[in-house]
């Protein structure tokens, strides 16, 4: 298949497909972030450490994820693991 006939997603011939891929990716990214933050919490990581690795403020992580995760794991305090790494 040569360069001219290759389907290029989001190329000028079909912007919609390209834009819809962005939407799908955004939704998947949100779900992936929620899952990985939860995984880290379950592994005993502190909000501070999770935030650090995500490259955002602790407040941002807390605001976005704490309520959901706390509801799912009642009684479990935020971890300390990774604090001193």
């Amino acid at each position: 298949m040569d360069e001219m006939t290759r389907t290029r997603v989001g190329g000028p011939e079909d912007p919609r497909e390209g834009l819809e891929a962005v939407v799908a990716l955004r939704r998947t990214l949100e779900a992936l972030e929620a899952a990985q933050v939860e995984n880290a919490f379950v592994a005993g990581w502190s909000w501070a450490r999770i935030a650090e690795v995500l490259g955002v403020s602790k407040q941002a992580v807390h605001k976005k994820h704490a309520k959901r995760i706390r509801a799912k794991y009642p009684g479990r305090p935020p971890g300390r693991k990774g604090r001193d790494l």
């Binding site: 497909e17 799908a24 939704r27 949100e30 779900a31 992936l32 929620a34 899952a35 995984n39």
Partner: protein, 169 residues
């Protein structure tokens, strides 16, 4: 405001659409969610027409997930692999504390539903009008979803009016 003249059924179907959108991880409520809401509520002419053409809630959800998966694979991402990597905590569901707005396409469908209601001389906005509104988005997600299930807008609209005529007899 937007629910003026809606019947109990059609209002219920929009509320169900919101729940479907949340479950499927749709961060805005699209016209495909309005369709899913009609199927989930499973009452009224629209649901009956869809059912008679073999459209089921489960199948429609799968179609919606398939469209997401296809969109991702078009840019080289496998949803299955993302799922496997993230483990059991991965779910598309949107947390309860996040609001889900109506998408422009869904708004357009509801505006069109009202237009169809008027043109049909009805004074209530039922599920049939919502469905006709959805079909008005000719290249919308819902219409493409239906196409994926082998149902064309024309056939569906015909069936709707057929059932409506029968109900009026």
């Amino acid at each position: 405001m937007i629910f003026t003249r809606f019947t109990d059924r059609s209002r219920k179907s929009v509320e169900a659409a919101l729940e479907e959108a949340r479950m499927l991880g749709h961060d805005s409520l699209g016209d495909e969610d309005l369709l899913l809401g009609i199927l989930r509520t499973d009452e009224g002419l629209a649901a009956e027409a869809l059912y008679s053409l073999g459209v089921r809630l489960e199948g429609a959800r799968e179609e919606s997930e398939e469209m997401l998966s296809l969109a991702l694979s078009s840019i080289g991402i496998s949803l299955e692999e993302v799922r496997r990597e993230a483990g059991d905590t991965f779910e598309m569901r949107i947390p309860e504390d996040r609001r889900i707005p109506l998408s422009p396409q869904a708004k357009k469908a509801l505006v069109e539903a009202r237009r169809r209601m008027r043109r049909m001389g009805d004074n209530y906005l039922g599920t049939e009008h919502v469905l006709l509104g959805i079909l008005g988005n000719t290249d919308g997600m819902a219409v493409r979803m239906l196409a994926g299930m082998g149902v064309s807008p024309e056939v569906l609209e015909d069936r709707l009016f057929e059932l409506r005529g029968r109900a009026a007899d």
